[in-house]
Symmetry: none
Subunit: 221 residues, 2 copies
DNA sequence: AAATCCCTTGCAGATTTCTGTAAGGGATTG
DNA sequence: CAATCCCTTACAGAAATCTGCAAGGGATTT
């Protein structure tokens, strides 16, 4: 899991449980929160200079103005500035915005790694998103109809067949026998084991229960 | 996947890419299209007589009249006639109708296996529906508010906790330890085993994989 | 031709799941 | 009080999952 994460969160956002939840659910050693874009950028700069750079930036989009002067006034500016000095930095945007077109633009132009909508399940989704991004995948809150990210997770026909059968309650032995009967190859139990285990890594699942839950939620199976 | 599928589609419907998309996405060996109910029924008859019956019928509801005389004038009549001669035939209805009550009636009286609304995502949904029906499940386009199939089995808070943790990839031993830590009782692995096994019966699940898939699909967890 | 890589398969073992039996405690009922 | 029921728990054994290691084959590269 990520060791060093920076959270830039408009302090008016209210969601101040984020840090605690993330600390508890994931095991991130260093997780700092900043309420202003400028301060967040400074932190990134210092960390980079000291050769202990942040690995992930989680940022809001909207930062409401207050009495403090500021240069960076939005999450997009923060992302641009951050990527300018640390191009490999991974970025998750966590905001209220739910316009697919705008979110799509974030992926296209800012190359963000995930977008999580602030909603009832926003925190759970954020945890998922971090895990996905850690495994070099993208993530978008399911309620966002972003047909751009539809093909992000490619499951070939063989994977699909196995997963659907597992979700239907078949054991791997039964799936193996079924494949042999249909003269489909590969069909050994061992290979099925391997295929599924590989999917654990790809989707950041701990076991088959977890994998099935994730894929069904994502509408993949 | 289905080997032999018949598509009855009002030719005014316009959606003539259906056949190509289905052929490409799924791997159906024989996929024929008919523009008239009567011709579709004839095809079913002939196939059955030659001992190579169709496995799935996908039909529209509304077939607009033109110069050709016809006996069957709607999808419902086609379904009734088809089922009369081949009761095991699976049926997916693909139409513009979006009245939940009418769609509900199709499930109740015609025992159709899936209903897909013709809409922007209709084709994608149709692909999903075919896969679901192939696995002996039903499917309804998500935009249809069909709270009919509510087998209201009560899940109490304790069941929910266990199920969510399982779906999150925790083992029963881990759940047991977590409960002990939180001083929640009961908390033994044995009791958790029993609780989950009881849910197998209630929800007709073969094992935990199956149960999780069902409950996530049903939006329970 | 040899080396290399990738995929498939078998096998072994540790862990987990699933099912059944049995024992004990608390609450209810006769 | 005794009988009964229900819930919790322990335990045991069979089946299934999960993770390694190793062997073999086919395709590609050197």
């Amino acid at each position: 899991m990520f060791k060093k994460v920076l959270l830039a969160e408009d302090f008016q956002g209210g969601n101040h449980g984020i840090v605690e939840v993330l600390r508890e659910k994931l095991h991130i050693e260093e997780l700092q929160e900043e309420l202003y874009c400028d301060k967040a950028l400074t932190r990134l700069k210092v960390a980079l200079k000291n050769h202990v750079p942040y690995e992930l930036l989680i940022t809001d989009l909207l930062f409401v103005a207050d009495h403090i002067d500021r240069k960076l006034t939005s999450g997009i500016e923060l992302i641009k500035a951050s990527r300018a000095l640390q191009p490999t930095l991974k970025v998750i945007v966590n905001s209220m915005e739910d316009n697919p077109v705008k979110i799509n633009t974030l992926f296209k132009e800012q190359k963000i790694n995930a977008y999580v909508c602030k909603s009832r399940h926003g925190l759970t989704e954020l945890v998922n998103a971090i895990q996905e991004v850690y495994h070099n995948r993208t993530f978008v809150s399911p309620q966002i109809n972003l047909n751009v990210a539809d093909n992000v997770f490619e499951l070939d026909g063989f994977d699909m067949m196995i997963l659907k059968d597992l979700a239907d309650g078949l054991t791997k032995k039964e799936i193996s026998e079924k494949l042999k009967q249909q003269k489909i190859t590969p069909n050994s139990e061992s290979t099925i084991d391997k295929k599924v285990s590989r999917l654990f890594d790809e989707f950041g699942a701990k076991n088959t229960h977890h994998l099935i839950a994730k894929l069904v939620r994502g509408g993949k199976i």
